[in-house]
């Protein structure tokens, strides 16, 4: 019996070493350790072994069973690893230089710049408002201190409509409505499409975007306006900008300013961008005219405030280096698809 066990041991060892596939291992397991396996048979047959040798045989057989189980596990693992190795080594090398199919569209540059600005303003407590594109003469002109036949109407060529309304020439057309809607204190911006009856060229469009802002509170001073504009523009351009105010005439503010920023490209030395002046004219602003406040239901004795206009089209052009205003309304995807989404 002992010989038989030793013989089984040799047999199993040889079979195991010849095995190359997980199926072979399974067969070996069944042959020796299965319900009717050769080693199991021996263990079942112990009662027929003479009593004096029974213990020795049992020990030998049990040892063999344990050794074999372990060897089978090891061999299994070894074969599995080999099989994976083979699988991995034979895998197709993937070409990642093939371009991705993104199918990502694009937002209009105005939308992108507008969103950026809105986020800055919202963080400063401004409400975002929305105006109409067709406006009444009252809202576009009278309510912002430009009565009929005022020479300032020549400053903007207006598209008049057959019913006496007009295509709004300036975002200021929303000032009156916003003041009446919110009262004081007021912090609001109102972006929108504006229209001027002009021939198109690289720097003139009949349809363009502005963003206007108003801030009204008690004792708002010119010094506050300068501080605010400087802070705001530094946020917009993501660096500290130097600003200066010059007198500018806009009927809805008094005093009115043209705000220039020190050229961001040359730092004021003079270059092509600033036409060698060192400064870039960026946005009209001013202290809101008392008449405008009055018409908006706000007492100018108690409250004062400032308003400012930002040329969204212009800022979008600056951001992307677009040198022809007409690109923005071209609907040409060859241009527009170059824009991103954020």
């Amino acid at each position: 019996m002992i010989d038989k066990i030793n013989d089984l041991k040799a047999q199993a060892k040889e079979k195991l070493s010849n095995a190359t596939h997980s199926m072979d291992i399974e067969n070996i397991r069944v042959e020796f350790l299965g319900k009717k396996g050769k080693i199991i048979e021996i263990l079942k047959d112990l009662k027929n072994v003479e009593a004096s040798k029974r213990k020795e045989v049992a020990t030998l057989a049990n040892n063999l069973k344990n050794q074999l189980e372990e060897a089978i596990e090891n061999k299994k693992e070894e074969i599995k690893n080999k099989e994976y190795e083979k699988k991995i080594n034979s895998a197709k090398k993937i070409d990642l230089t093939v371009p991705s199919n993104l199918n990502i569209g694009s937002l209009h540059p105005i939308t992108i710049v507008q969103k950026e600005l809105e986020e800055i303003f919202e963080s400063m407590g401004f409400t975002v408002e929305d105006g109409n594109e067709v406006e009444t003469e009252y809202n576009n002109f009278e309510a912002v201190n430009v009565p009929k036949h005022h020479p300032a109407r020549d400053m903007q060529d207006t598209f008049w409509l057959e019913n006496g309304q007009l295509l709004k020439t300036q975002t200021s057309a929303a000032q009156n409505k916003i003041m009446l809607k919110y009262g004081t204190p007021l912090k609001a911006i109102f972006p929108g499409r504006c229209f001027r009856n002009e021939e198109l060229d690289a720097s003139h469009e009949n349809t363009f975007f502005q963003m206007e802002g108003m801030m009204i509170d008690k004792d708002v001073s010119i010094a506050n306006l300068i501080y605010f504009m400087k802070t705001l523009l530094s946020q917009i351009f993501k660096k500290d900008v130097e600003v200066r105010l010059r007198p500018g005439y806009f009927p809805f503010v008094e005093p009115g300013f043209e705000l220039d920023i020190k050229c961001l490209y040359c730092g004021g030395e003079g270059c092509k961008v600033c036409k060698h002046g060192g400064w870039i004219e960026l946005c009209p602003c001013g202290m809101i005219h008392p008449n405008v406040l009055k018409m908006g239901g706000i007492n100018p004795e108690e409250y004062s405030g400032f308003a400012f206009g930002l040329g969204l089209s212009r800022l979008a052009m600056m951001k992307y280096g677009i040198n022809d205003l007409r690109v923005l309304n071209s609907c040409d995807l060859r241009s527009l698809k170059q824009m991103d989404i954020k």
Binding site: H149, D219, G248, C331
Partner: protein, 794 residues
């Protein structure tokens, strides 16, 4: 407007002041300067010469050989001017000199040596006169530099007219000089004028203002014995440099005073004027203005009449019938103040914006009319000492502006500017601008506004704030924060809906945002065969054809598809824009905010594209509002780009939100017959008003559910909605959910039927269902479908 520094120097001492720096300060304190021209910089070596001899040049009809004495020597000169004469004094550009950048060299002309040239006024740049060479006064010293007698050297700067819109006082040099005096802290010299009271014994002119609401003041004077015809070189040069053409002494005089004081004047030939009346035209009239143009004037136009004959369009231009001619020796001088709006209306109606009308429409100070006459006489006497004033100063002053007083405290000023000014500094600045200031207790100032600022420019405290801060210099104001409450605001729902929709379309569906125009394009409509309904029109558009505002976004989206289709086969675009509804004539139009989406492909079918477009709309409403849209067959929209069969109206809660359509093949074929095109419009403004459908959490059943698929055979024209209706009305106790798995259509195998596979999920929240309960539910579905002619396959 052009400003001459020489002219300014008549009124302010600018010694020791850097002119460029001064102009910069003017920009920073008063108005925008558009450019600076330095005249005379490129002219030198021009001297006074005397023509000693004139000989004809052989074989030339025009050329003469001159010998010119230029003081230190005599030189030869070949000259083609018709007015050369022995003995006259001329402006002579020597060899080696420079005339407005043009170098003069010794040369041979028609074989004759020529060492310089005699100049015309045009060549010297002081007028447009090029009829002959300049003939200088006999007493002009020989050989001196021409710049000693003609003020050729000058710095002219151009002020942006727009930035002077609210400053009637700055439309003349004297007003500008006042600003410069304030900016530099120097004294403004008083204007030298003729005292007219010495003529008070002369006869009064007959003036009547019938239209007193349109003419605030009419001042006049007559002057006889004008002997000179041409103006001095100084006057000519100044006019030319400031952009006006010298014409004759009297015309130049009115222009000169206008450029100096901002007060337009008109000189009539005195012989034609008996009695002046200012009134409006009773009926449409033809009238010839002094620019030799016959103009049709509307009834109501404000005119100057001589007795019953119109002689000038008030504030705009004089008539030819009474104008100054070469023979005029006596004039009737008008210096008037007209109501700005009527002048502006007349000028724009006639398309005749003159220097006079541009000034009147700014609301001039009526006090100016008298000063202008006084100054006119003073300057005219300098030009022509022989003149005789032949009437007393005659003046009808109908409307005098009230004197404006503004009360303001130092504290208020400092609060509004954000600078701590001393009372002294405030008073000094205001007085430099000729405001009269009285200081009372508690630092209360009462400020009297000078008449030339009081017509409409300065009226309240804000204006005083402006005067003080701009003269102080905005650059000198230190930026200051304020104690505003800053609380971040939440973005409004309506606003975030727009951005979220745009982002979704771009990111998830790969579309590109465009911006189109808000009006229809007639040319493209014709090219594509798009017919649009009449809508609100622009009345003064640059292109008369393209004047109809859009009632739908569809056409403008199709233009954009058309523009891009030559570059791309498969693409989609979107825009949030406005549409306009104009139903009732002359009433305000309604404006809507609309999201429009268009998609085209050469690979996908109309059906595939339309379903893709539907999924975009569904995503937008689901993500933003958690709602589902209804797609109702279109029976109302009949625009010719909309597909009569495959178009649907978008609805939610019985409100129409827009439409979705395959583009009508008639239009599609004009864009590209190989492409499928689909289009949708969604009223984003209405959508934003819809309330978010709340999400209530439903617990997941603890008990097992059973899924099974039914393949249902139906007629091909049965809609999924029809099947849904049957299922929903089957009174199923345990149906938890069902969804569409597939629709199979195959003409050959199924004829006019189609195979719709739906997966049902059956289960209970209270127990595990028995086989019998499940089977009962299955049978109920089958029998209900069967009742409606929908058979289960297999």
């Amino acid at each position: 407007m052009y400003i001459s520094i020489n002219w300014i120097k008549d009124f302010v001492d600018l010694d020791g002041i850097d002119i460029k720096n001064l102009i910069y300060k003017f920009t920073m304190s008063t108005a925008e300067v558009e450019g600076i021209i330095e005249y005379g910089k490129n002219t030198y070596g021009v001297v006074v010469g005397k023509i000693l001899s004139v000989e004809d040049v052989e074989n030339s009809k025009k050329l003469h050989r001159l010998v010119v004495d230029i003081g230190d020597k005599k030189v030869n000169c070949i000259c083609g001017a018709p007015n050369v004469k022995v003995g006259i004094k001329v402006a002579f550009a020597k060899a080696g000199s420079m005339v407005n950048g043009f170098e003069i060299k010794s040369t041979l002309i028609a074989g004759n040596p020529s060492d310089g040239m005699c100049l015309s006024e045009k060549e010297l740049g002081i007028s447009e006169d090029h009829t002959g060479i300049m003939i200088l006064d006999d007493d002009t010293p020989l050989g001196i530099d021409i710049k000693q007698i003609i003020p050729i050297d000058d710095v002219i700067y151009e002020v942006d007219n727009k930035s002077l819109t609210n400053r009637p006082d700055l439309w003349g040099h004297y007003g500008i000089a006042r600003e410069i005096a304030a900016i530099t802290g120097r004294k403004l010299k008083p204007l030298e004028v003729e005292d007219l009271s010495c003529y008070d014994n002369l006869k009064k002119l007959d003036i009547n203002i019938e239209s007193s609401e349109n003419c605030y003041r009419y001042s006049a004077l007559t002057i006889d014995n004008v002997t000179k015809k041409v103006s001095s070189y100084k006057m000519k040069t100044r006019l030319t440099y400031c952009g006006l053409r010298p014409i004759s002494l009297l015309v130049d005089m009115t222009n000169y005073i206008m450029l100096e004081l901002g007060q337009p004047m008109h000189a009539f030939d005195k012989n034609f004027i008996k009695q002046i009346n200012v009134k409006t035209l009773k009926e449409d009239t033809m009238f010839k203005t002094l620019d030799d143009t016959e103009r049709k004037l509307d009834a109501g136009t404000l005119m100057i009449y001589n007795e019953n004959t119109p002689v000038a369009i008030a504030g705009v231009m004089g008539g030819q019938n009474t104008q100054i001619t070469d023979n005029t020796t006596s004039l009737f001088l008008e210096s008037a103040n007209f109501e700005p709006v009527i002048v502006r209306k007349t000028a724009s109606k006639l398309g005749l914006r003159t220097d006079a009308s541009a000034r009147y429409e700014k609301t001039l100070d009526p006090e100016l009319t008298k000063i202008a006459v006084e100054r006119f006489v003073k300057i005219l006497k300098e030009e022509d000492s022989n003149i005789e004033v032949s009437s007393r100063f005659s003046d009808l002053y109908v409307k005098k502006y009230d004197t404006i007083f503004i009360d303001i405290t130092r504290d208020y000023i400092n609060k509004k500017i954000g600078v701590d000014f001393s009372l002294d500094r405030i008073v000094k600045i205001l007085e430099s601008l000729e405001f009269k200031v009285t200081v009372k207790d508690n630092e209360m100032l009462t400020i009297e506004v000078p008449t030339f600022r009081a017509t409409k420019d300065v009226s309240g405290k804000a204006d005083i704030i402006e005067e003080i801060s701009r003269i102080h210099g905005y650059d000198n104001i230190v930026p200051q924060t304020n104690f505003w409450k800053i609380s971040p605001v939440r973005e409004e729902e309506a606003h975030s809906l727009e951005y979220s929709s745009k982002k979704l379309l771009a990111e998830k569906f790969g579309l590109s945002e465009i911006h189109s125009y808000v009006w229809y394009d007639t040319k493209l409509n014709n090219e594509l065969g798009i017919e649009v309904e009449d809508n609100l029109k622009i009345v003064n558009g640059l292109n008369k054809l393209d004047s109809t505002l859009r009632a739908k976004m569809g056409p403008t989206m199709l233009y954009a598809i058309y523009k891009n289709i030559k570059n791309y086969d498969d693409f989609g675009i979107f825009e949030i824009g406005r549409t306009f509804e104009y139903k009732v004539k002359n009433e305000n139009c309604k404006e809507y905010k609309v999201l429009a989406i268009a998609k085209t492909s050469t690979k996908k079918t109309d059906e595939e594209l339309l379903i893709e477009l539907k999924s975009m709309l569904d995503s937008i409403v689901k993500i933003n509002k958690n709602i589902d849209l209804e797609y109702v067959e279109n029976t109302t929209l009949n625009d010719n780009f909309i597909h009569p069969v495959n178009s649907f109206v978008l609805k939610y809660d019985n409100v129409e939100l827009g439409y979705i359509t395959v583009v009508n093949p008639k239009i599609r074929d004009n864009i590209n017959p190989k492409s499928s095109i689909v289009l949708a419009e969604l009223r984003i403004d209405l959508l934003s008003n819809i309330e978010n459908k709340p999400i209530t959490y439903k617990e997941i059943s603890k008990y097992q559910t059973v899924d099974f698929d039914f393949s249902i055979i139906v007629d091909e024209n049965v809609k999924y909605l029809d099947i849904q209706n049957v299922i929903n009305n089957s009174d199923l106790k345990y149906l938890q959910d069902y969804k569409l798995v597939d629709i199979y259509e195959n003409k050959e195998k199924l004829n006019d039927k189609k195979n719709v596979t739906i997966r049902f999920t059956i289960g209970s929240y209270d127990k595990t269902l028995t086989k019998e309960e499940i089977d009962e539910e299955r049978e109920k579905i089958i029998s209900n479908l069967d009742k409606n002619g929908m058979k289960i396959n297999g």
